[in-house]
């Protein structure tokens, strides 16, 4: 019989060891899954994890996919540490894309340096506005932010669909639900030729650094951590819970909104009914797999980005369904949560001594 025994102190080795074990277990389970689907396992693994990284274009795509995941996950992990569960990053991403994209369409005739900065402000504002709703409802009415932020995501999807099939639709687009293509002035620079890698990747790295400084070097970061671990102690220390809720949600909304703007101003170049393959939800996994630590999030973001690319590549070369990506991501989080137990407990077998 398996038994858990609490460790006197959490294992430092396992804090970083557990994600690696989880990754290994996910790979094993993935092999089993491929075998079940009747796909040659080695070919599938190659298509999933190696193929995407063998070309310059593929490496660029890794950055394109990792940038939004990392940006959002760093901000989310700040909130998760304070036990503020912003689950609606997907909606905030869409809101940022709508607001920033609308700025681009409003300035359609203008080719000036200030178009992109204005769009960035729009993206930030859109994401923050969407996150402000659950923050306000939490602080003012004590409404559960998990459910409200999630409902706001469903509403954002519908709002985007409404706008691109109505007010923001391309007037010369034969009634397709799409906006006009953005002008060059409204597109992010792509410094690495032959790839779609855009300036958002650099911003994501800055966000990692900023998140690390905030969490480990500032009073606000300390307050957030105390609030998450011991809310009463935080209250006695004079940290206002409502400010922390506001900060957590607005930071998440700002980063998600910016990521959304980068999507439409980067790889996509216009507003479409669907602009994100679930980055906002995957970022939740990234935050947990990265141990709610900005540097961990960076690595976790790269792994998750690879799972997106792997899914696409396996679809092309082996005809596997794209949904395999979601299964991989879910499995990784499950295994991580399962191996997390090793940090605080020892696993003992046999009877009690």
């Amino acid at each position: 019989m398996m038994r858990l025994e609490r460790r006197a102190v959490p294992s430092r080795v396992m804090v970083w060891g557990a994600p690696l074990i989880a990754l290994g277990l996910t790979l094993l389970a993935g092999c089993a899954l491929f075998a079940l689907l009747g796909v040659p396992v080695l070919a599938a693994l190659h298509a999933f994890f190696v193929e995407p990284l063998t070309s310059r274009y593929g490496l660029g795509e890794l950055g394109v996919k990792a940038a939004p995941l990392v940006m959002i996950a760093v901000a989310l992990s700040i909130g998760f540490r304070a036990q503020v569960w912003n689950i609606g990053a997907e909606g905030q991403l869409i809101a940022g894309a709508i607001a920033g994209g609308s700025v681009a369409l409003a300035l359609y005739e203008i080719e000036a340096w200030y178009v992109l900065p204005a769009m960035v402000l729009g993206g930030l504002a859109g994401g923050m506005a969407w996150a402000a709703v659950p923050a306000f409802l939490k602080v003012r009415f004590n409404a559960n932010e998990i459910l409200t932020s999630l409902m706001m995501s469903y509403i954002a999807v519908l709002l985007l669909s409404l706008l691109v099939s109505g007010p923001l639709r391309d007037p010369d687009g034969f009634n397709f639900p799409e906006s006009r293509l953005f002008h060059d002035a409204a597109l992010l620079p792509r410094p690495w030729s032959g790839t779609r890698l855009h300036a958002g990747a650099a911003v994501a790295l800055l966000v990692v650094v900023a998140g690390w400084v905030l969490l480990s070097r500032t009073l606000l970061g300390f307050a957030l951590r105390v609030h998450g671990q011991a809310p009463r102690a935080a209250r006695h220390a004079g940290f206002r819970a409502s400010s922390l809720v506001w900060f957590s949600l607005l930071a998440g909304g700002a980063m998600a909104g910016l990521a959304g703007l980068f999507e439409v101003a980067g790889p996509i170049g216009q507003l479409l009914p669907s602009i994100s393959p679930g980055y906002g939800f995957t970022a939740i996994i990234v935050a947990f797999v990265g141990r709610l630590h900005p540097v961990g999030v960076l690595f976790a973001g790269l792994i998750m980005a690879l799972s997106y690319l792997g899914g696409e590549s396996a679809q092309i070369t082996l005809g596997l369904p794209l949904a395999v990506t979601g299964v991989f991501q879910g499995m990784l989080l499950f295994f991580l949560l399962a191996t997390d137990v090793l940090i605080r407990y020892r696993v003992r077998t046999g009877t009690r001594t």
């Binding site: 459910l147 709002l159 137990v341």
Partner: protein
């Protein structure tokens, strides 16, 4: 009353039934002190399993059982992680949803575009002949009748039986229940598996009766709405039933809006259930004392028996 109205009321029943199943299961889970945010994944699991089995075997009954089994199976995964391995309930529930969406899309790939006959209507012949009330009350499929029986049973179980008392004690104070010798972890396992089975049935209803086909991600947020319903119901089975029918009614507005003379864009109509969810959450949560008095005191907190 015209036929259109009777039809509209009947569709409210079909829209409410999956919410009743998922909600009443989660209510029991939360009463035992566990928060399972994976309802969406459980419902999808139930939906795809029920549809696949019903399609392959041609038997709706087998389909329903498969939906139930899939929900229990996925809930076992959740229970093992949160109760045995003490993982975070919030994170594990989210993982269950993400995993469920991916897994069901993968399994259901070959089922897309196939239609299913739907569940047979079991009418009580002489009662359903009554005008208006007959068809409204006595012409439904087995899962609709079952949902009412389930809510009544849960209400009776929680308030009138010894086992129900133990379950509530485990939810309110696992430490005391443990000290009294009650098997906290086993009770929570039972509750989580029961909740999983209920959500699986809710999913089965979606793919066998509500829209008898399989579509990727077809639960469309109903799992989350059911979670909100439990809060709205302040953990009372009777109020949950009322809430589910209220939401069923709102959901049906989007289908029958145009027939009823509403000419808003379809996207606005589709937003209504989500907006309504936020509204009822706000209305119910602003009275903090009421939530505190009724919410299971230990909800979401892991419990590790040390002795």
């Amino acid at each position: 009353m015209s036929d259109v109205w009777i039809l509209t009321l009947l569709t409210i029943v079909t829209a409410a039934t999956p919410l009743v199943y998922a909600g009443i299961g989660e209510l029991v889970v939360e009463r035992a002190g566990v928060l399972n945010l994976g309802l969406e994944g459980l419902m999808l699991g139930g939906a795809v399993a029920a549809f696949a089995v019903a399609h392959l075997s041609g038997s709706a009954t087998l389909g329903i059982l498969a939906g139930l089994a899939a929900g229990v199976l996925l809930a076992t995964l959740f229970a093992f992680l949160t109760l045995t391995l003490q993982s975070s309930q919030v994170a594990t529930g989210l993982a269950l949803t993400i995993f469920g969406i991916g897994l069901t899309a993968l399994i259901g790939q070959s089922l897309v575009g196939i239609a299913f006959g739907g569940l047979p209507q079991l009418s009580v012949s002489w009662l359903s002949a009554i005008p208006v009330f007959g068809p409204l009350l006595f012409e439904h499929d087995i899962l609709v009748y079952g949902s009412f029986a389930l809510v009544a049973t849960v209400a009776w179980f929680l308030s009138r039986t010894r086992a129900g008392l133990v379950l509530r004690a485990v939810g309110d104070s696992p430490e005391s229940a443990h000290a009294l010798g009650h098997p906290v972890i086993r009770v929570r396992y039972a509750a989580v598996l029961f909740g999983g089975g209920c959500a699986g049935l809710g999913g089965a209803y979606l793919s066998l009766a509500y829209t008898p086909m399989w579509v990727e991600n077809m639960s469309g947020g109903r799992g989350w709405i059911a979670l909100a319903l439990v809060v709205f119901a302040v953990w009372q089975p009777g109020r949950l039933l009322f809430g589910a029918y209220l939401f069923g009614g709102i959901g049906i507005l989007q289908l029958h809006g145009q027939a009823l003379g509403l000419t808003w864009p379809s996207q606005l109509m589709s937003m209504l259930p989500y907006l309504a969810t936020i509204l009822v959450l706000v209305l119910i949560s602003r009275d903090g004392g009421r939530i505190r008095r009724n919410a299971p005191a230990s909800i979401g907190r892991p419990f590790h028996p040390t002795l």
